[in-house]
């Protein structure tokens, strides 16, 4: 029987190893799987490469993981944040590496990784510093740059509802990077606000088919990052 539901966030993040490449969903706080990130902080894996659009807020969630010096490299599109100095401070000291990727290229690289596409050409970033050192190529009189598909050992994703097959639906703009990240990791770990019976999600409305999901844990009342930041909370 297929049952991807695990009992705790601790069980969910088991096996994440030192040096792993980890994709973390979310755009700002929307879709950020904070409880999974906190479980990862407790779990102890270090020297991680993290792929996520941002670098977190305050001293919780992704920012806390970075603050604990567990991340040696960030791959993201917008590491600057108005409400956290965690990443900028480490970056200024040279203690964390940054690969800056345009947001659409990041999404497409992840999608390509999940879809078995090793590389593709894109018009984004051509003639800018972010295309330096990359292969340029002309198609139909326009210049494009070669970008590579990207994969991860683990993805951490947040969703609204899931069933035991791992079929997922999301909430509004918290969907963002979740669906593509689910496709691009060896092991995809999902926190869901609700576990539902098989068949409760209309087959027409499934956003992430269960085939892309390895483990699901129910976190029925996920915290709001902005609230934690407002309250000046830290983790651990």
């Amino acid at each position: 029987m297929i049952n991807k539901i695990v009992k705790s966030t601790e069980d969910a993040v088991k096996g994440i190893f030192d040096g792993a490449v980890v994709m973390i969903g979310g755009f700002g706080e929307a879709g950020s799987p904070i409880e999974l990130i906190h479980a990862l902080i407790d779990q102890g894996a270090k020297n991680l490469t993290v792929i996520s659009n941002n670098t977190g807020s305050g001293h919780v969630g992704l920012a806390a993981l970075i603050e604990q010096k567990r991340v040696s490299k960030m791959i993201c599109s917008f590491p600057r944040t108005s409400n956290s100095t965690v990443f900028p401070d480490l970056y200024a000291k040279g203690e964390i590496e940054l690969e800056l990727v345009p947001q659409g290229t990041l999404a497409e690289r992840i999608r390509a990784g999940g879809a078995g596409i090793p590389a593709f050409y894109t018009p984004t970033s051509v003639h800018t510093p972010l295309a330096e050192g990359k292969e340029n190529r002309v198609f139909n009189h326009q210049t494009y740059v070669l970008e590579y598909g990207i994969k991860a050992d683990f993805s951490l994703v947040k969703c609204k509802a899931a069933d035991r097959y791992g079929n997922l639906i999301y909430n509004k703009t918290a969907r963002n990077f979740g669906p593509v990240m689910c496709t691009a990791a060896e092991i995809t770990i999902v926190q869901t606000s609700r576990v539902v019976e098989l068949g409760k999600i209309d087959p027409e409305n499934v956003v992430t088919p269960g085939i892309f999901v390895s483990r699901v844990v129910e976190v029925s009342n996920p915290v709001h990052e902005s609230k934690l930041v407002f309250e000046n909370r830290t983790y651990p």
Binding site: Q103, E108, V180
Partner: protein
């Protein structure tokens, strides 16, 4: 006393209004963070414009009433928004399919600099030590059909933001179609920058002095 009624230039709302007038009925529009967001307030009545936000929503509505915010319904600037009837949500790769695939009609952006050939710089001052952040800016300028710029004509120090060549790192090359500033509306053409409209109290010579690139006047037929 005779000068109090002489208005010089447009204020932020008036610039936004000028942009809004140029957005046709039925357009799919992405508005950058900051001044561009004002544009939505001035779309003429009777026009239906659909707003895209790159974090996964087509049919973005106005800011919610207090207490109605959903932290999982935000725009690209991470501010709380709403969705309109007929909206839809999608993931990031699909969102940038809309952008990169030339499905969005108009994007309105703020800038650090814009050059006479349409080069645009709005993501980095190139300062050492600063954290570079690009977000979706490069995707937008590479993919959206028409890029409009909304900006103060000069920096706080009075330096021109409209220049011959950008000194800041580029966001995209030859991408800007039109510039809306507090002093004028400029068309970016293959023959250079043409003055489309002067703000009240601004004449061509004054405008030229505030601009780091040569301006041209349209010839009347």
């Amino acid at each position: 006393m005779k000068n109090t009624n002489v208005k010089k230039g447009w204020n932020r709302d008036e610039i936004a209004q000028k942009v809004a007038l140029d957005i046709p009925d039925g357009a799919y529009v992405n508005l950058g963070i900051g001044m561009p967001e004002l544009v939505a307030d001035f779309i003429p009545k009777g026009r239906e414009v659909i707003y895209h936000t790159e974090n996964g929503l087509l049919g973005m509505g106005p800011v919610p009433e207090q207490g109605q915010e959903d932290p999982e319904l935000i725009n690209a600037g991470k501010k709380n928004v709403t969705s309109i009837k007929g909206a839809c949500y999608f993931h990031h790769a699909d969102s940038f399919t809309m952008i990169r695939g030339k499905h969005i009609d108009i994007c309105v952006l703020g800038v650090l600099q814009v050059a006479e050939n349409g080069d645009l710089a709005n993501w980095s001052t190139g300062q050492k030590g600063a954290v570079p952040s690009v977000g979706g800016a490069m995707d937008l300028v590479a993919g959206v059909k028409t890029i409009l710029v909304i900006t103060k004509h000069t920096t706080k120090d009075g330096q021109p933001k409209i220049v011959k060549n950008c000194t800041y790192p580029l966001t995209g090359k030859s991408v800007v179609k039109r510039i809306y500033s507090d002093l004028a509306i400029l068309d970016v053409t293959e023959k250079g920058l043409f003055v489309r409209e002067l703000a009240p109290g601004i004449d061509f010579d004054y405008l030229q002095k505030q601009t780091g690139a040569k301006l041209h006047e349209y010839e009347l037929e």
